[in-house]
Symmetry: C2
Subunit: 234 residues, 2 copies
């Protein structure tokens, strides 16, 4: 077996890993969208579907991580390939946590319906802005990963502030709502955590984007302040 | 340079990495304890200290991760050593997130004091149980890492349920408190997030423990149900 052959085989392995990450990403993105829909419609069927998918996502995390270890152990990856493998390992950890947040939202939908509190609730339509920003950010981060596009990844990092601002606004509205009718407090606290879950989805999208930059450019921009981002990447 | 010499040098590198992880763990543990104290005493000085330490913790994460990549790229670690290196990479990610939660609690203390709402607040002493469980769990996880003790790690994983139960109890008390005096809602929501942060510290301690088992036994027990834990490890 020639060196060329070996290298081609290695490339195929790397590319297979990337495809699986994107598959996992697609699954997780779908979970978040479905969880948001489940909340908007108080659909128990959709909530159940989100929770059912969690196991598959968890399984993918374990499998991809195992494959990564095997590849590193068998091959002697170059610094560049190693960066991809380590970046991927962190990426799937992030994706799994996004899936966790989706499942959390879905379990909240079940509880709200079971308690019969979803009838007189803070209108969940008011959460659609945050939900849209968070899912868009996640989608953009996955696109950036697919094309190893550092510029798009920087965009994702920069827009995280908007999601945080939307979260803060929602908190103020929820507090006002609770004050006006304290009987809604229990159910409102559930929505406080939903808003928090969406904000975390945005955080994870940002983390994904940081890994894209690490893989594409070799720059570890975690904990880099926004105004130092451009120079750290170039 | 003989093979033996090389191997000894590698061992020294691995042991240096482990020491740095424990140093980072000690720093983070201290941050959590200090944040809990800051909340109990509404001490702005302690809260400031927690936030000040965050940068050092973040810096350690970046440095250790860079060292890990360098070691993997330079050496050809055996499967066992690679397990340690990958486990350590996940471990420091977890520790950094614990530090984040401590900083969140500290920022909440600043806000409560600034708003002057800490005077007529839900008694934070009622949160000391959850805080104690979470910090004890974190300490035990770090001990388990220091000694690569899989049994102690399993203990940490099992006791996470207690922290969750304590969190649920606190939520019920906080809701009752808000219902009785809706003027406390804004400040109480802050405490809801503090309780959540402590619950997350417990989650991260569990995640740390899972990595200890991975390093010590080679078994990836993430997502393993409690009743399957013993058989997965042995």
């Amino acid at each position: 077996m020639s060196d060329k052959h070996l290298s081609t085989q290695f490339d195929a392995e790397l590319s297979a890993i990337s495809s699986r990450v994107l598959e996992m990403g697609g699954l997780v993105e779908q979970q978040v969208c479905l969880a948001v829909d489940a909340l908007a419609e108080f659909s128990e069927a959709k909530a159940t579907e989100v929770i059912r998918t969690e196991q598959r996502v968890n399984q993918m995390e374990l499998e991809i991580d195992r494959d990564l270890s095997n590849i590193i152990a068998r091959r002697q990856p170059t610094a560049r390939d190693l960066r991809l493998l380590i970046g991927v390992s962190k990426t799937i950890g992030n994706l799994e946590r996004v899936g966790d947040e989706a499942a959390r939202i879905a379990r909240t939908v079940h509880r709200l319906v079971a308690n019969g509190t979803h009838g007189r609730l803070f209108p969940t339509t008011q959460m659609s802005n945050e939900a849209q920003l968070a899912t868009a950010s996640l989608r953009r981060a996955l696109d950036a990963f697919a094309r190893l596009d550092a510029n798009q990844a920087m965009q994702v990092i920069k827009e995280d502030n908007e999601i945080d601002a939307e979260f803060d606004g929602l908190m103020r509205k929820l507090v006002t709502y609770m004050m006006e009718d304290p009987r809604t407090i229990t159910a409102s606290i559930d929505l406080v955590f939903v808003a928090k879950s969406l904000e975390r989805v945005g955080d994870h999208a940002k983390n994904l984007a940081e890994q894209v930059i690490y893989i594409a450019k070799g720059a570890d921009v975690r904990h880099t302040p926004l105004d130092g981002l451009e120079s750290a990447v170039s």
